[in-house]
């Protein structure tokens, strides 16, 4: 696999993990709001 493709994959993985972080933060606010 060439270098640019593996860089693109790293970006995809980073995006997925960012989404997870965003979801956890959103859940945090949801939890706090209804506490």
């Amino acid at each position: 696999m060439n270098r640019s493709s593996s860089r693109r994959w790293r970006q995809v993985y980073a995006l997925v993990l960012l989404l997870l972080a965003a979801e956890i933060i959103a859940f945090y606010f949801l939890t706090e709001y209804y506490r």
Binding site: M1, W9, V16, F27, T31, Y33
Partner: protein, 575 residues
Amino acid sequence: MGWLDWTVMIGTLLAIAAYGTWRTRHQRTVNDYLRGGGEMRWFTIGLSVMATQASAITFLSAPGLGYESGLRFVQFYFGLPLALVLIAAFFIPIYYRLRVYTAYEYLEQRFDLRTRLLAASLFLIQRGLAAGLTIFAPAIVLSSLLGWDLNFTNLFVGILVIVYTVSGGTRAVSVTQRWQMGVIFLGMVLAFGILVYHITQEVSMPVALELAGTAGRMQVLDFSFDLDQRYTLWTGLTGGLFLALSYFGTDQSQVQRYLTGRNVRESRLGLMFNAALKIPMQFFILFTGVLVFIFYLYQQPPLFFNEVALERLEEQGYGEELDELQGRYDQNYQQLQEARQLLSESYVAGGHGEASASAKSLFREQLAEDQQLRQELKNLLLEVDPEFKVKDTNYVFLTFVMEYLPAGVVGLILALIFSAAMSSTSSELNALSTTSSIDLYRRLFNREVSEAQHLRVSRWLTLLWGSLAIGFALTASLFDNLIEMVNLLGSLFYGSILGIFIVAFFLRWIKGRAVFWAALVGEAAVLLIHFGRVWHWEWLSFMGTIGYLWYNVIGCGLVVLTAVILQAFGQKRVS
């Protein structure tokens, strides 16, 4: 259930099975039959992975969990995206480079034959038993709620799955799963929409959610480090990660789904599709359960959702106690409604001040009383039969569906439950047949087998595993603790299998001999810990009541550690 529901349900299921069989009727090579010709696109792979994981119990129990305890269960899935990223980055390229049919094939290339056979056998034992349960678990709920014959339900689902899985193999599994996921999405969205409609007839949505929040149903995150708490942020991120790594990375019923891809890119995208969508989807299912909870603040729910249990109480001569309990329950529900009314008025007025605080605490008190009465009923049920399963979580959603959804939609939701059962079962049978055909039959007994013969054997093996699954489902009701035992079996084996794969992928200097013995040591240790706890051995008391989830972590950790030590020690001795 009226004719419309029957037509929708049977029509949907038969149409999907018939379409799957017809579309995939020409399977000429083993590559076609076991790897779907290796030409699937990412969307099909993504849906297939999702459909395999979502079994009927997901749709029966997750809304029930949402009803009972809110959104907390979603934390269990936090490790999943992490696991899928690791698998996409490290596992998939290697599986593709070696062009394997099964995950266990790789183990022979990396280590040796016996490690491959060990992992394949552990998979066959565990999945072979679990496949029967995938059919049995929803059948028992449906037969109890709808009065259907348990054996008929088992046979109906089992035979339908066998027909298309035997005929079309992996491709039939993928083709049908696309449609089954369609039915599942449509059913869930309809149920959700109808719930929102009913609720907004009574109260505005923001106030409804405030009510659910006051009842503790809207909280997602739990930061506590208490090991007894099954669902916390930390168990989700650690235990959930290990479980997802074992399941998606080493369980053939999942590995086979993404090995059908056209290339590495399609497989990776299929997994990323799940990494992005699984948490929102699970949240949505749990949230539907929360809506059911809100709905039942306006319509009185039954005292216990599995009504067969109540009939049983009456038969056993506990009618009087039951009536008395029911009377108190009805009375409390009236008070609960008053408290709910007071609270919603206070929210409409802004939700601040002393009046609002007292309305909140009154509402919570009434809910606690409601819980207390349910607990009293459960105690009564246990008095009659100490072995009785007093959890009625799996019955909540369908009870609501049967009573309040319009004709036609009920049939669709039942088709949803069956579709979920069938989509998981077909993947399981397909994987069992592939593993026994590639890792056992071809490797051990007939290495020079012809293409046609191998295809025939794979078909027969699918039929054999399907028949075993049905046979198991038909006898499961005879043994009380069977379900727990099978679920437990999964947790007992998963850790060691994952340990083998972690060593294979990440610790390249460790060889077959070390990892094989490490796997046996790890497995023995997990079994020892488990049975030690069952028999209350003193020295294990420090482990408290940790759940099965942690066996994965312990088993995997022990295998990796032992393999490292054995390899290091072995090398020293040689040098």
